[in-house]
């Protein structure tokens, strides 16, 4: 079965009806309705009510629906979860996660709300947003703290503040933290999602940042503007040569399964589990991008 892609996760301010209604038009893999930084403290109640009704009413197409909720130690955390779980977003993205306990506590709270709403346990997934030095230090433990967790994301703005540094175009100050988040997520079998690039007018800079994220191993990128979505998809799109080779690997593997053949090779190269998995990932991404013939095993 194909794995859901999370190349682009588009942030949408949770208190802006027009932007919420239009979000799916840009076809991001995931939409993040934001109740945290994009919403003023005195508008949290209004945004929460609007997001809940949007989830209950609007058709967001094939987009994964996430809601970024306020951190565990804020006065909005419990109200966010109580209101949102019955509206069944696919994922709650918890801001400012610093320890496994933050996730375990949230997991149990969501479980309680799922029971009250008559939903099966685990209906609503979780994503941990790691944005501080402490969070990065605990990333590996956080990544395995709950079966509900499907991804961890990295937040550079708060992180650079927490290490008393400044964010630069080169991003040297982020290299260790980004790598730590990728390793933690990949070791746990969940998706690492890279930080936002706030300068929406700097398209070359954004493209370079997405390429760097992809090379580091991130599954996708958080986006703050709709026009960033197409750039992310373009960077993550496999080349036609990569797709051709991947489809040949999958076809050979499917053929071997059918015939009960043991070891197989394509172009003189032995095909084993990791190569099949990598080929499937390339075809999945190509299919999502609207190319490839769609061989699947």
């Amino acid at each position: 079965m194909s794995k859901r892609l999370r190349r682009s996760m588009l942030f949408v301010p949770g208190n802006n009806p027009a932007l919420i209604i239009d979000a799916a038009v840009f076809s991001p893999d995931s939409i993040i309705l934001d109740l945290e930084d994009a919403v003023a403290v005195d508008q949290k109640d209004a945004a929460r009510e609007l997001v809940v009704r949007a989830l209950q009413t609007l058709d967001f197409g094939n987009c994964e629906l996430c809601v970024r909720i306020n951190g565990r130690h804020t006065p909005f955390f419990a109200d966010d979860i109580r209101a949102l779980v019955p509206a069944r977003p696919h994922v709650l993205r918890l801001a400012m996660v610093e320890s496994p306990e933050d996730i375990i506590y949230t997991d149990q709270f969501i479980d309680h709300c799922e029971r009250e709403a008559g939903l099966p346990s685990g209906s609503v997934k979780l994503m941990a947003s790691i944005e501080t030095a402490r969070g990065v230090t605990n990333a590996a433990k956080i990544a395995v703290s709950s079966p509900r967790l499907i991804a961890i994301s990295f937040g550079a703005e708060d992180f650079t503040h927490s290490i008393q540094s400044e964010r630069t175009a080169q991003g040297q100050e982020l290299l260790f933290a980004r790598s730590a988040v990728v390793l933690a997520a990949r070791a746990a079998g969940i998706d690492p999602i890279d930080t936002v690039y706030s300068n929406i007018d700097d398209e070359p800079g954004f493209r370079a940042d997405v390429k760097a994220a992809k090379q580091l191993g991130f599954a996708g990128k958080s986006c703050v503007h709709p026009r960033q979505v197409a750039i992310v998809h373009d960077v993550y799109r496999p080349t036609s040569d990569e797709v051709y080779k991947a489809e040949r690997v999958l076809a050979a593997y499917a053929d071997a399964l059918q015939k009960g053949t043991g070891v197989i090779s394509v172009d003189g190269r032995m095909v084993d589990g990791p190569i099949v998995a990598k080929a499937q990932r390339i075809v999945d991404i190509a299919r999502a991008a609207g190319s490839g013939r769609g061989v699947q095993v």
Binding site: N16, P17, E49, V52, R53, T57
Partner: protein, 92 residues
């Protein structure tokens, strides 16, 4: 019970600004200003009344300044404005 004046929403396109105030009498009065009022006034009034009833409000003045809000947006803004108006004011 309405305890104080409150508002929610905005005048931005696609939104509605909703004011809720104590009623002068025991009635629920709904006033709506909208460019689409000639066609959708009855349906908008019905949505506002339904939310007020769900929240147990029988007496209030609710004023909506609509800027093209969809029904779910209108309902969200009315809900928030009424809930805010039901909270105790700071000096209580």
């Amino acid at each position: 019970m309405i305890r104080r004046y409150a508002q929610a929403g905005s005048l931005e396109s696609g939104d509605a600004l909703v004011h809720v105030a104590l009623a002068q009498d025991e009635a629920l009065t709904i006033r709506i200003k909208s460019k689409v009022a000639p066609r959708f006034l009855a349906s908008m009034q019905s949505s506002v009344r339904e939310i007020a009833t769900e929240l147990g409000i029988m007496s209030a003045t609710i004023e909506v300044m609509d800027s093209g809000a969809l029904d779910f947006v209108l309902r969200a803004r009315v809900t928030t404005a009424i809930k805010r108006s039901m909270e105790a004011s700071v000096d209580e």
